[in-house]
């Protein structure tokens, strides 16, 4: 595995850090996909484009309204989430009675439209978004330098993932969601407004994507193509973890980020494809995904 040259501790921890960062985004994005898939039974192909919108809204909030990163962290998910709810209420709801394939095609079309629009106005090159001053700088941990913003991204993502898991598994609101996911007809017959829950769930999943976009803005540049770059890996993560599993998507996201990082250290040629190779293996051994329920 050590291809002739020594790996320094610096390199290893450097790549592990990048791996954890990527893992944070994989976890947040696949979590949003899992929440949407569980409730609506559709694969939200627009997820990458909405992640990109989240970053752009942060950019606009700063440059048009002077609202800084911390405002964007709340504002962008709310704005893009509301946009998502609008999409569900006006478009996706009409396809609900049909084969899920139609909803898939619709979200795919939306992704192309959104990305195309942004690319038209902003070109393909990226725009910078500054790291918020409160998170600038780094800490010297001895074996490596840990940039504060990177540590924040990892910690905050983990917190959001845990909070979402807790909300769904341990609270009353989560019980409504789990019931409506399991048996929407009966849930509705007990008096709960299931269509409204579906709209809010889609909005919530989209909000998670937008949140990831805000977190990503200071690290990657704010580009129309940033969603498309990451979405293929995120789908692979969701397939590996299991399509509807909340916990599965979180654990798999972080783990695969680390695996990707380690691959970059020890066998860089495979780093782009390792996630897909793992996906192929999982599909052969356990098609429902590592944490998926075999129906």
């Amino acid at each position: 595995m050590f291809l002739g040259h020594a790996i320094t501790a610096q390199q290893l921890f450097g790549q592990l850090l990048i791996g954890l960062i990527n893992g944070s985004f994989y976890a947040l994005l696949s979590l949003g996909l899992a929440v949407i898939f569980g409730m609506l039974n559709i694969v939200n192909f627009a997820h990458g484009a909405l992640y990109m919108m989240g970053a752009f809204v942060a950019y606009f909030l700063l440059h048009e309204f002077g609202l800084n990163y911390w405002w964007a962290l709340i504002g962008s998910p709310l704005i893009v989430g509301a946009f998502g709810a609008l999409i569900e209420r006006t478009l996706l709801v009409r396809l609900r009675a049909l084969d899920p394939l139609y909803s898939l095609l619709l979200t795919f079309g939306l992704a192309l439209m959104i990305q195309g629009l942004f690319q038209n106005y902003f070109g393909a090159s990226g725009m910078p978004y500054a790291i918020p001053p409160q998170l600038a700088g780094a800490h010297n941990l001895g074996f490596m330098f840990l940039p504060n913003y990177r540590a924040w991204v990892i910690g905050f993502s983990a917190l959001v993932c845990f909070a979402t898991w807790f909300l769904i598994e341990k609270t009353r609101v989560g019980a409504y969601l789990r019931a409506a996911t399991e048996n929407p007809t009966m849930t509705r017959a007990l008096g709960l407004n299931v269509p409204r829950m579906i709209t809010l769930t889609y909005g919530f999943g989209v909000g998670l994507a937008a949140l990831a976009g805000v977190l990503a803005a200071p690290i990657n540049q704010v580009r129309p193509g940033m969603g498309a770059d990451v979405i293929a890996v995120v789908f692979a993560v969701v397939v590996i973890g299991g399509m509807g599993s909340i916990l599965g998507s979180i654990i798999t996201g972080f783990t695969l980020g680390i695996v990707e990082g380690l691959t970059k250290v020890f066998y860089p040629e495979a780093s782009n494809t390792v996630v897909f190779v793992i996906m192929a293996v999982v599909l052969l051994i356990k098609p429902a995904g590592l944490f998926g329920k075999v129906v």
Binding site: R172, Y176, R178, A179, T181, E182, R188, A189, L190, G191
Partner: protein
């Protein structure tokens, strides 16, 4: 002195038709349930009893006709609106949510009015087994426990009109007796109940009136007072028991 007007029926079904996809299952069902009554729908498998309950609740594919509940036309309403008007269904398959705990199942349905519905105390008095199983997953309960949970769940909402689809199916005699006692108790408290039962013996212990369904229609209506030998003979023939 003027004679008292009979109370308006709690539920008045007229010309109810229903489809599952292309399949035309109900061909014009007419019957009514009066306040405080227990009415049983009898009939063979496939007669349309379950479909009737589902059509009244609004959870069937397509329906037409008239369903007037507590003075309101509900044929065009969604099932959650109907539930919030005070109607509740306990389906044949019980539909306990396996991804929820027993406690979560019990507390899931919203209360129609803030004060309506049985208190948890009262529910646990009716169904002591449930109190012990609150933390269990919904899917881990026995058939009898699931049935009790399904009934307890709708009692909490404050709905006063209950539709119970084969509540005794597949259950042990001791639990069947307990359910019979529960229904009798609810009747004493003024609940109105529409029951679907294959087990005529059980139905006879709680029902005031019966309707016999065949091929998606009501063919016969009987009250307890009408159950002479002749009527029982007819029932035996129609129900095939």
């Amino acid at each position: 002195m003027a004679k008292a007007e009979p109370a308006a029926p709690t539920l008045a079904v007229s010309g109810l038709q229903a489809w599952y996809g292309e399949s035309h299952v109900l061909h014009g069902v007419d019957f009514e349930v009066r306040p405080g009554e227990v009415v049983t729908l009898l009939g063979r498998n496939g007669a349309g009893k379950t479909t009737t309950l589902k059509a009244i609740m609004g959870i069937v594919g397509k329906r037409r006709g008239s369903v007037v509940f507590a003075g309101r036309q509900t044929i065009g309403l969604t099932s959650d609106r109907i539930a919030r008007l005070g109607m509740a269904i306990c389906p044949e398959e019980r539909a306990i949510f396996a991804s929820l705990s027993v406690r979560e199942n019990l507390l899931l349905p919203p209360r129609i009015t803030p004060t309506g519905g049985l208190t948890l105390e009262r529910i646990f008095a009716l169904f002591p087994n449930l109190a012990e199983r609150l933390a269990s997953g919904g899917g881990k309960l026995s058939g009898g426990e699931q049935q009790m949970l399904a009934i307890a769940r709708i009692l909490r909402t404050g709905a006063r009109f209950l539709m119970l689809d084969e509540p005794t199916e597949g259950l042990a005699p001791v639990i069947i007796r307990q359910i019979g006692q529960t229904i009798a108790e609810l009747k004493r408290e003024g609940f109105t109940i529409l029951l679907v039962e294959q087990n005529f013996g059980f139905a006879a212990t709680v029902s005031d009136r019966y309707y016999v369904m065949e091929h998606g229609r009501i063919e016969l209506g009987l009250a307890n007072a009408d159950l002479d030998a002749n009527a029982m003979e007819q029932l035996h023939v129609r129900l095939g028991v």
